[in-house]
Subunit: 246 residues, 2 copies
């Protein structure tokens, strides 16, 4: 089995990097082969735009999806996009490890979605959702937040975790991944660097790492989030009249 960890934190000593190490070590010990896309360390460019394409389908007007389709068709994908796709192709399990910034993933990881999930190559109008390119693979988000756990939930000050992850997790579902419930680390303060803390906070960090390691010991058993699929929709995308079998 192969795993890919996509890490989106600027600091190698961060708790996010620590969780990446926990995942790598736990999965390696279980016999996985583990790759890491360290987006900051590899200087991934998240800005989809004309400069990313040398051989343009239309040199005059830049239409992002048209250029993605052309780059795929001609075999001229940007090198870092090709690299990320190759890593995804090898992976049975994909872990997105990131801090929650403005109720979403950091820009560098948002741009990874924008650029790597190539139109025409990795999805088409038919090859999506439960017919998606990466069907059969699992994905999970591991997210840190500075705010304490009790502030998160429907109606609570920090907002509902499920709502804020919807754009990310539905996008993974769109690509065919079976998305299992996320792993949250709350109360990870800005100074929460795993090699610097002591006392209660240090204990909290260690407990989170242990919980993450335990979660990864049998992640293959986790039930995916039940997103709707093609059987649930009419041709024009509306829910069909009968409920899907649970």
């Amino acid at each position: 089995m192969n795993a890919l960890i996509v890490l989106a934190h600027p600091e190698p000593q961060s708790f996010n990097a620590g969780l990446k190490d926990v995942a790598r070590d736990t999965l390696t010990a279980r016999g996985y082969s583990v790759e890491v896309s360290d987006l900051y360390a590899e200087r991934f460019n998240p800005v989809e735009g004309a400069e990313r394409y040398v051989n343009r389908a239309d040199p005059e007007v830049f239409a992002p999806l048209a250029e993605q389709r052309n780059a795929w068709k001609t075999g001229c994908l940007p090198a870092e996009v090709r690299r990320e796709i190759d890593r995804l192709e090898r992976a049975d399990l994909v872990i997105l490890q990131f801090p929650l910034w403005w109720h979403a993933q950091p820009a560098i990881l948002k741009g990874w979605f924008d650029r790597v999930f190539v139109s025409g190559g990795l999805y088409t109008s038919r090859m999506r959702y439960d017919r998606g390119y990466f069907r059969g693979k699992r994905a999970i988000c591991s997210i840190t937040s500075g705010a304490p756990a009790e502030t998160f939930g429907p109606g609570r000050r920090g907002g509902d975790p499920d709502t804020m992850l919807w754009p990310i997790q539905y996008s993974l579902h769109y690509m065919g991944f079976s998305v299992v419930p996320p792993f949250w680390s709350f109360g990870i303060q800005g100074h929460g660097f795993s090699y610097q803390d002591e006392g209660d906070f240090g204990a909290h960090l260690e407990a989170q790492k242990a919980a993450w390691s335990r979660r990864l010991r049998c992640i293959e058993q986790d039930e995916p989030i039940p997103f709707p699929g093609w059987a649930d929709w009419s041709e024009d995308g509306r829910p069909v009249a009968f409920a899907p079998v649970a």
Copy 2:
């Protein structure tokens, strides 16, 4: 009155750029002074990271929020962050104009949130939500999507527009903005460049532009989205027992 349009599309001939022109012209005709942050044209760097800070609070370990607070305190904000804050300070109305990429804003606009909403300067644990820095200002998202309108909604294939905008709109609320309901342009295909199309599709684009212009004619009257505020939460961020007055 002053307006700021933040545009996040890589192509100057795009329909998004066309909607930016409509907003600029409509608001200018109404007596507004209008500024535009064209993130692609200005080459905004969306990646928050160590390289953005010359004078570090901690040169060894990069903690994003700590460095934001230090840069604010010492008056050494990155120049493009300072520029965006100055524009926001002048604006009574802020328009975010962007295409929906992976159920969210493009990375370049996500990074605008990550970098411009400076910790310690533009928000603190108390200066948030209805006590936010930008209270009294209005914000609106104008979003384009290639998928047709009927595929969007709760349970529909494209997903629920309110859910997918929650992270963006709640973040604007967090900063104190009164966020009015978004303006959606559905069915804007990848080749939907306003200067190239004809027939039905051209008519659709023109109708959308006209609708956007009409919307902006009395946007000051629009009721903000009723997000919860401090009166709705206990000290630890849970909803209080009584419902807020509608």
